[in-house]
C-alpha cells in the first residue's frame, strides 16, 4: 500500500491546478516513515532549511539511530511542484550501523537504485509544503536490514 500512497502523491504533484494558499507554517514539522519500519517524528528538528538554492533536511531518525540527510537543488527560489524527474541534483542518505556493517537508506540522482521523490513546495518564506520520497534500503554484507527493499518517508513542513 505504501507505494500506492506514493503514487497518489506523484499524481497530485503533476496537476496543473494552483495549490491553495499556504496556511501558516506549522510549529513543528512531521516526518512519517513506512516500509521496514514505521515512525513518525514531529518536531522542529524535522523542518527543512533553504539557502536560496538547496532545500535540505537533517533529522535524527530514532529507529535508525542515525541522521537522515536530504538535499534537493531547486532551480529557483520559488514555490512549485518538483520531482526526481525534473530535478537534476538531489540526494538522501542515512546509515544504520550494525555490529558487522549496516543498512544504507539511500536515494538520489547519483544513487543506484535512484529512488524518487515528489515535492510540493507551497511557500518559501516561511517554508511550507510536502515532500514524499522513496529510498532504497541497501544491505551491507553481514547485516540484516529487514524484508523490504524500500522505505518511504513523507515530510510535512
Amino acid at each position: 500500500m505504501k507505494l500506492a500512497v506514493t503514487l497518489v502523491l506523484v499524481g497530485c504533484a503533476g496537476h496543473a491546478t494552483v495549490p491553495p494558499a499556504p496556511d501558516a507554517p506549522p510549529a513543528g514539522c512531521t516526518a512519517a516513515f513506512t516500509g521496514n519500519f514505521a515512525e513518525t517524528d514531529d518536531s522542529p528538528a524535522g523542518c527543512p532549511t533553504f539557502d536560496g538554492s538547496t532545500l535540505a533536511f537533517a533529522m535524527q531518525v530514532g529507529t535508525l539511530a542515525a541522521e537522515l540527510d536530504v538535499s534537493i537543488a531547486l532551480p529557483a527560489a520559488m514555490p512549485g511542484d518538483f520531482s526526481s524527474e525534473t530535478i537534476a541534483t538531489w540526494s538522501a542518505m542515512a546509515f544504520q550501523r550494525e555490529t558487522n556493517g549496516g543498512c544504507i537508506y539511500r536515494a538520489g540522482n547519483a544513487a543506484t537504485p535512484e529512488g524518487s521523490f515528489t515535492l510540493a513546495l507551497d511557500a518559501i518564506a516561511p517554508l511550507h509544503g510536502t515532500l514524499a520520497m522513496s529510498l532504497s534500503i541497501l544491505t551491507e554484507p553481514g547485516s540484516t536490514c529487514g524484508q523490504q527493499d524500500t522505505e518511504d518517508v513523507t515530510f510535512s513542513f
Binding site: 507505494l3 529512488g115 522513496s134 541497501l138 554484507p141
Partner: protein
C-alpha cells in the same frame, strides 16, 4: 505493390499510459510484506538432459537479461567482481557497497551462465559433429592428419590474429587449445554428464572475462579452464542423440552471434587493453603477427603498440572460431542438407541458387538430419548424414532466422555499429575470413551464406507453415513427398518468437540490428539486399522479400492481440486455426509471459501502442494470478501451487517478460514505482530458480547449505543452473586473491556447485520442480 515502409516508431514515452497500469498491478501488495509464515522450498531435478534448442533459446534470453539489463537498472558493471567474497556485492562509483541480488544475479550470473553452455557446445563437450570435417574447413573430405592440418591452420591463424597464440593456443597442441573440440553442428539433445578434473596444477589463472592474468591478478582456477580435455562427455556415444535439427543449430547460432557481436565491439592491444579504433590505413594489418599498430581507446588516448582482433586474446580467438562454425554450419544446410523430395539430401546447386530461392522454385527445405559417425585417424569421429525426418517445426525455422540474422549483421558493412565497425571489418577483410562484395550474389562467404539461410528459412516458413487463407503460421508440418500437410495449431510461444524472429530479420537486413538492441524501436525500411532478387510471390509478382516478411510479422502480431490475449490481460496457450478458437482454456504462465514478449516486440516493430498496452494488461494479470506472494515464486498455473516446475523455456519467457517490463516501462519516466518491484522479482527469480537459493529469512545472505533447495550428500546442487565455474566465481579454490587455497565445491556458498563436483557442465537442467511446504 508499392514498397510499404514500416512506421517510424516514436517511443517518446513508453510509460505514458494510465496511472493505474503504472501502479504495482494486481491484488498483490506492491512489494510483498514480510511473510508471517514462511514456506520452506526444496527442489528436485527431474532431468539433467541438455535439450539444445530450448537451452540455447533460454541462454540467448539470459544474456540479454544480463549485463544490458543491469545497465538499465543503473548499475555500473565495473562495480561487480565475480571473485570477491562474499558474493553478490555491488560497489558504487562513490565507494558505497551493498548486497545487490538483482544486479549481481543479472550482470554476473544470468549473463555468464548463459555463455558457458554455448562454449560447451562450440568448443568443449564434443556434443556435436566435429568441425574437422566441416564443409568449408575440409571441402575435400580429407581424413586423418590431413583433416587435422586443415583445421589446425585455422585455429593457429585465429590464435595469431587475436594474440592468443603462444599463451592459450599452443603450438604443441593438435588444435591449439588443449582439449579443444570444435563443432559444426550441435546435437539436438544429450546427457551432459562430464568428469572435469579437480586439479589446479596448470597455474591456470583468470582475472577478467576469459583472459587469465590480464590485470595481473593471480586467481588460480581449475585446470579445465585452460585445458578442455576433461570437459568432453563422459561416454559420448552413449550420451548423444545423433540428430541435427534446424532448431538446435539455429538457436545455437543465435546465441553464438550474440557473443560474437559482444567480442567484436572492440579490439585489444598487446597489453590486453581495449582499442576502440585504428587508423583506417592500418586496419588490414590488425592481427598480423608482430604488428606495431597504435590505436586509440574510447577516450582517444593512444594504446600500446600491437593491435589484435576481438575484445581480448581469448574472446578474439573464440569469436573467430564461432564464426568458422557458423560458416560451416550454413554451408552444410545450404549445399548438403536441404531436400526437395523429403527423402534425399541434395542441397542447393549453388550459393547463388540458394540466395535467389523463390516461391516459384521447387520447394527445398531443411529437414532433421541423422548423424552416423565412424572413427577416424584424426581422433575426431567422421560424420555422415542422412535424412531423419522431412517434417518441419516452426520453432526450428525461427531459430535459423534468429541465428543468421545476427550472423548477417556481423558481415554487413552497411551496419555501422556491427559489421561496419572496424573490429568486425578486420575479421572480414580477407584475413582470416574472405571479403564480400556486399551483394546477395552467392559468393562463398559468410555474408552470402547468412543471406541464403535467411532467404530459404523465411520463404519456407511462409510456404510450409503459413495458412494460405489467413497467413497465420502453424507449429507442425508433416511432409508427404514435397507436399506440406499443415497442422492447425500454433502455440503462443511460437507466435511470440515468430514476431521476434521476423522483426530481427528485417532489422538485420536493414542494418538496424545491433547488440542488445532488442528494446530499441525500429525505423522505416526502404529496401534490403534480398529485395533485389524477385521472390515471385503468388498473386503479386512485384512483392519484395522484406515486404512479405513484414506482412507475416504483422499478421502474427495481430493474432497475439486479437485472439491470443484479451483486454482483461488473459492469454491463451495457442490458437486452433481450424476451430477459430484457442487451443484450450488452460490458464498458464507461459502463455502470458510469451504474449508479453511478443507484444512488446510487435510494439517496437510497428509503433502501434495497442500492442504495448495489451502487454501491460497481460503483465498485470501475471502479477495478480501467477505470483505466489507467500512463497515468492511465479507458478505455471494460477497461484498458489505446491509443486512448481521450471524448464529453460519457462524461465526464459518469464525472465524476458520481467526484463522487457523493466526496460520499456519501469525505466521510462513515470515508471519508477515499478523499479523496486521488478528488481525484487528478478532477484528472487534468478536466485531461487537459477541458483536454487531460497532466501527464507529474507536477509540477503545465504545460510549455507540450509537455504539451498537441493542438497545431495551434503553438496548443494544448484537450481535450474546445475553447476558453475570461474566466470561466475567458482574458482575451485578458496582464496579470493593471491594464489591457490584449499579445494572447494561451492566456494562462494551461492548453492551452485563447481562442475567437477557436480559432474555436470555449467548448464541448465531440462526440468526442475520446486516443492513449497507451507507451515
Amino acid at each position: 505493390m508499392a514498397k510499404e515502409a514500416f512506421r517510424i516508431v516514436v517511443l517518446a514515452c513508453a510509460a505514458c499510459h494510465s496511472p493505474a497500469a503504472m501502479a504495482p498491478p494486481g491484488d498483490a501488495p506492491a512489494i510483498p510484506d514480510a511473510p508471517q509464515l514462511v514456506p520452506t522450498i526444496t527442489a528436485t531435478v527431474n532431468s539433467t538432459m541438455f535439450v539444445t534448442r530450448e537451452h540455447m533459446l533460454a541462454a540467448a534470453e539470459m544474456q540479454i537479461s544480463g549485463e544490458p539489463l543491469a545497465t538499465a537498472m543503473g548499475r555500473v558493471l565495473g562495480g561487480y567482481s565475480r571473485d570477491v567474497l562474499p558474493t553478490d556485492i555491488y560497489t558504487e562509483p562513490d565507494g558505497v557497497y551493498w548486497v545487490d541480488l538483482a544486479g549481481f544475479s543479472t550482470a554476473v550470473e544470468s549473463y555468464e551462465y548463459s555463455k558457458q553452455p554455448m562454449n560447451g557446445l562450440a568448443f568443449e563437450l564434443a556434443a556435436g559433429t566435429s568441425l574437422v570435417f566441416g564443409p568449408v574447413v575440409n571441402p575435400s573430405g580429407a581424413t586423418g592428419s590431413d583433416a587435422i592440418a586443415a583445421l589446425a591452420a585455422i585455429t593457429t591463424r585465429a590464435g595469431q590474429e587475436s594474440n592468443a597464440y603462444g599463451t592459450w593456443v599452443l603450438a604443441g597442441e593438435q588444435l591449439g587449445w588443449p582439449g579443444f573440440w570444435p563443432t559444426t553442428h550441435v546435437f539436438s539433445s544429450f546427457d551432459p554428464a562430464i568428469d572435469p578434473t579437480s586439479t589446479a596444477n596448470l597455474n591456470c589463472i583468470i582475472s577478467s572475462d576469459d583472459s587469465p592474468s590480464d590485470l595481473g591478478e593471480l586467481l588460480v582456477v581449475g585446470d579445465y579452464e585452460c585445458d578442455a580435455s576433461t570437459l568432453h562427455l563422459r561416454d559420448r556415444a552413449s550420451q548423444i542423440t545423433s540428430v541435427v535439427t534446424p532448431g538446435a543449430d539455429g538457436f545455437a547460432a543465435w546465441k553464438s552471434n550474440l557473443w560474437v557481436m559482444n567480442y567484436l565491439e572492440i579490439m585489444h592491444d598487446s597489453t590486453g587493453a581495449a582499442v576502440a579504433s585504428v587508423d583506417e590505413a592500418d586496419l588490414a594489418s590488425v592481427g598480423a603477427s608482430g604488428n606495431a599498430i597504435v590505436g586509440v581507446d574510447a577516450t582517444g588516448a593512444p594504446t600500446a603498440a600491437g593491435t589484435y582482433l576481438g575484445s581480448s586474446q581469448i574472446e578474439g580467438f573464440q569469436a573467430a572460431m564461432l564464426l568458422v562454425e557458423l560458416d560451416n554450419r550454413a554451408e552444410d544446410w545450404l549445399a548438403h542438407f536441404a531436400t526437395t523430395d523429403g527423402t534425399t539430401l541434395t542441397g542447393f546447386s549453388s550459393g547463388s541458387a540458394a540466395v535467389a530461392y523463390s516461391y516459384a522454385d521447387p520447394l527445398a527445405w531443411f529437414p532433421s538430419i541423422a548423424v552416423t559417425e565412424t572413427a577416424d585417424a584424426s581422433g575426431f569421429p567422421r560424420p555422415s548424414y542422412a535424412l531423419a525426418s522431412p517434417d518441419s517445426e516452426l520453432l526450428d525455422l525461427l531459430g535459423i532466422v534468429l541465428g543468421y540474422s545476427g550472423t548477417y549483421a556481423l558481415t554487413d558493412t552497411a551496419n555501422p555499429d556491427v559489421g561496419g565497425a572496424q573490429p568486425a571489418r578486420a575479421y572480414f577483410d580477407g584475413d582470416p575470413f574472405p571479403a564480400d562484395d556486399q551483394l546477395a550474389d552467392g559468393e562463398p562467404t559468410l555474408h552470402d551464406r547468412a543471406l541464403a539461410m535467411l532467404r530459404v528459412a523465411l520463404i519456407d516458413l511462409d510456404r510450409m507453415h503459413a495458412d494460405p487463407a489467413s497467413d497465420l503460421l502453424v507449429d507442425h508440418v508433416t511432409m508427404a513427398g514435397a507436399t506440406p500437410n499443415r497442422g492447425t495449431t500454433v502455440a503462443t510461444a511460437s507466435v511470440a518468437y515468430a514476431v521476434i524472429a521476423l522483426r530481427g530479420a528485417i532489422r538485420a537486413l536493414s542494418a538496424q540490428l545491433e547488440l542488445y538492441s532488442n528494446n530499441t524501436p525500429d525505423t522505416a525500411v526502404s529496401s534490403t539486399p534480398l529485395d533485389a532478387l524477385p521472390i515471385d510471390f503468388p498473386g503479386d509478382a512485384s512483392l519484395a522479400f522484406s515486404d512479405r516478411v513484414g506482412q507475416l510479422m504483422r499478421t502474427q502480431a495481430e493474432l497475439l492481440l486479437d485472439h491470443l490475449t484479451d483486454a482483461t490481460g488473459r492469454a491463451y496457450d495457442g490458437w486452433d486455426l481450424a476451430a477459430g478458437a484457442p487451443t484450450d482454456t488452460d490458464d498458464t504462465l507461459d502463455a502470458h509471459t510469451a504474449a508479453i514478449r511478443g507484444l512488446f516486440a510487435a510494439y517496437l516493430a510497428t509503433g502501434d501502442v495497442r500492442y504495448r498496452d495489451r502487454a501491460l494488461a497481460v503483465f498485470d494479470r501475471v502479477q495478480a494470478v501467477f505470483y505466489d506472494a507467500q512463497a515468492r515464486i511465479y507458478t505455471p498455473s494460477p497461484a498458489p501451487q505446491d509443486d512448481v516446475e521450471y524448464t529453460p523455456l519457462r524461465f526464459a519467457l518469464l525472465q524476458s517478460a520481467l526484463r522487457d517490463m523493466y526496460e520499456l516501462v519501469a525505466a521510462q519516466p513515470g515508471g519508477e514505482a515499478l523499479e523496486p518491484v521488478l528488481e525484487d522479482r528478478l532477484a528472487r527469480l534468478n536466485k531461487l530458480v537459477l541458483n536454487g537459493w531460497d532466501d527464507r529469512d529474507g536477509d540477503k545472505q545465504v545460510e549455507w547449505p540450509d537455504e539451498c533447495v537441493d542438497v545431495i550428500d551434503g553438496l548443494p546442487r544448484g537450481g535450474l543452473e546445475m553447476a558453475e565455474r570461474a566466470l561466475t566465481g567458482e574458482l575451485g579454490r578458496f582464496k579470493d586473491q593471491g594464489g591457490g587455497g584449499p579445494p572447494t565445491s561451492d566456494r562462494e556458498h551461492d548453492c551452485v556447485p563447481e562442475i567437477d563436483d557436480a559432474h555436470l557442465p555449467a548448464a541448465l537442467a531440462d526440468s526442475i520442480t520446486f516443492h513449497v511446504a507451507r507451515p
